[in-house]
């Protein structure tokens, strides 16, 4: 059997159509979109058309899309862009405890430079309670940032409900949709938000490209300062092939989105049910139903995550423990701690995320091979011995 990739939440392969679509912009139509000559105008036409595609996929207007270098820049741009522009109006920002580090760390940076940050708790499924948001709004609040779906546990937030609360007070609302785009239908009006972050490589586009939806009229400063690209909102020579690739990817994932959601949900549930049934002392993290169709996240008690991953890798199975972005440190995930898991259980988490190329036989292979790994590691575990 080929290697089995179950880490689609960390990153995805670029689709063949995406690669084919990018190629001309590396070698033949390599012009700088700011240039007036034909090379430049070809490139400009390509990014304009890609902008239309992205806009259409979320129900926005083309001029509301700004291309960035990825989800992190989109998140940083949203927070710093609004913060540094609206500082006279207020200096209070609200985020949730389970935001991606790209939001949390940026909020922390702002916290050191004149802003107040409130961090909202979540319940044991990882859901923000709208009542909690109401309570912490002040007349100094300028921005609320709550993610659409969590990258680790897959929980989907009630964004429309949350954004309504902010909108009533005229407060900007940002949502990080890096994980939900291409896995859930998204409409910016229905979500009622002002800013929305995307990252190309999470939906079969290339790495190093992202976008920020900025609702018309949103007051913000650029994040990257320099040339007049992206109508003065994001300086730097446009990553033309990246932009083209992301546009193609967004079209493809939306072609048959409902079918793919259903297909992945069936596989995901097969995996979840089998693991919970076959491996004792295992819990599902995240919301039982309000979760991404491709996300399964377990805590497997008494053993540690990296050891599970290494054993899976030895069998050709790629999974993750906590967010891939921080797995270098393997500190217990802030998301798992936020939903109330004790440290040792947080350390034993396993995230398996599915994608377009996931087949049932791959899920079966995991279902078959995970239990013996767990058994082996538990036999070695000093805490298993004591508690069982």
């Amino acid at each position: 059997m080929d290697r089995i990739y179950l880490d689609y939440a960390a990153t995805t392969p670029a689709l063949p159509e995406v690669i084919a679509g990018m190629l001309p912009y590396f070698k033949d139509n390599y012009g700088n979109p700011s240039s007036i000559h034909s090379f430049g105008q070809e490139a400009k036409a390509a990014i304009d058309s890609s902008r239309e595609k992205i806009a259409k996929s979320i129900g926005a207007k083309a001029e509301e899309i700004v291309f960035t270098s990825g989800g992190t820049e989109s998140d940083n741009f949203a927070l710093e862009g609004v913060a540094f522009k609206n500082q006279e109006k207020g200096n209070h920002i609200i985020v949730s405890k389970i935001e991606h580090h790209a939001v949390l760390e940026c909020a922390e940076f702002l916290g050191k430079h004149g802003f107040e940050v409130t961090t909202l708790p979540v319940d044991r499924f990882g859901v923000v309670n709208p009542e909690d948001l109401k309570k912490v709004l002040t007349d100094k609040t300028i921005l609320v940032s709550i993610m659409h779906a969590n990258n680790e546990i897959g929980t989907i937030q009630p964004i429309a409900e949350l954004s309504k609360i902010a909108k009533e007070k005229g407060i900007y609302f940002h949502t990080d949709a890096v994980q939900s785009f291409g896995h859930l239908p998204i409409n910016v009006d229905k979500l009622g938000i002002d800013l929305l972050s995307l990252s190309g490589h999470k939906f079969y586009g290339p790495k190093g490209i992202g976008a920020l939806y900025i609702k018309k009229g949103t007051r913000m400063v650029p994040f990257l300062h320099g040339g007049g690209q992206e109508r003065n909102r994001r300086a730097s020579t446009e990553n033309v092939p990246g932009i083209v690739g992301m546009g193609i990817a967004s079209e493809i994932v939306h072609l048959n989105l409902t079918d793919e959601i259903n297909r992945e949900t069936v596989l995901r549930d097969k995996l979840i049910n089998a693991i919970l049934k076959n491996i004792p002392d295992t819990i599902l993290n995240g919301h039982p139903t309000e979760r991404l169709p491709n996300n399964a996240n377990f805590s497997i008690k008494y053993i540690e995550g990296e050891s599970i991953l290494l054993n899976l890798d030895m069998l050709g199975i790629a999974g993750s423990s906590g967010s891939a972005c921080t797995s270098g440190s393997l500190d217990p995930s802030h998301v798992l701690l936020s939903i109330g898991l004790p440290h040792e259980i947080a350390h034993g988490s396993l995230r398996l995320t599915l994608g377009r190329f996931t087949e049932e036989k791959e899920i079966d292979y995991v279902i078959e091979n995970l239990p013996p790994i767990v058994e082996k590691l538990r036999a070695m575990s000093p805490i298993y011995k004591k508690e069982s």
């Binding site: 053993i303 540690e304 050891s307 290494l310 040792e344 070695m380 575990s381 000093p382």
Partner: protein
């Protein structure tokens, strides 16, 4: 190699030596804590001042398991004095290196061994290892 580990580390991770407990051990070490994500237990059997058997149980990452395995291998057949000369660097070298973020695992392995020797000395001589204090406070990374 996954996790930037050497082949030797992966080999010990795949086939860890001396897993388990020793019934009626002469010394037991218990270090680490679940907050850090690493717990090691080490058991030694001592005859005529020589460590004749060593076993371990470990909750932890690949490096934690590999260093536990390696330290039990290194220690078998050594006198107590010789065993005390095994430092975390000895373990690292024997494993052909560890990624920098994983060095603390080797410290834990050294501590687990010392802690077992400390326990043995206390039981046999009434006095533990002079000045011994495991680095259990040390945090990841």
């Amino acid at each position: 190699m996954p996790g930037n580990y050497s082949e030797k580390v992966m080999e010990h991770f795949k086939n860890p030596r001396n897993v388990g407990e020793i019934p009626n051990p002469d010394g037991t070490g218990h270090v680490g804590n679940p907050v850090c994500g690493d717990i090691m237990e080490m058991y030694i059997k001592v005859k005529d001042n020589v460590i004749v058997d060593a076993k371990f149980k470990t909750f932890g990452c690949g490096a934690a398991i590999a260093t536990s395995s390696m330290v039990t291998e290194l220690v078998k057949g050594k006198t107590i004095d010789e065993a005390l000369k095994i430092s975390n660097q000895t373990v690292i070298d024997a494993l052909d290196g560890l990624p920098p973020v994983k060095r603390h695992c080797s410290v834990l392995a050294e501590d687990a061994l010392k802690s077992a020797i400390d326990d043995y000395l206390k039981k046999s001589t009434g006095q533990g290892l002079p000045g011994f204090k495991p680095h259990t406070e040390e945090h990841h990374g």
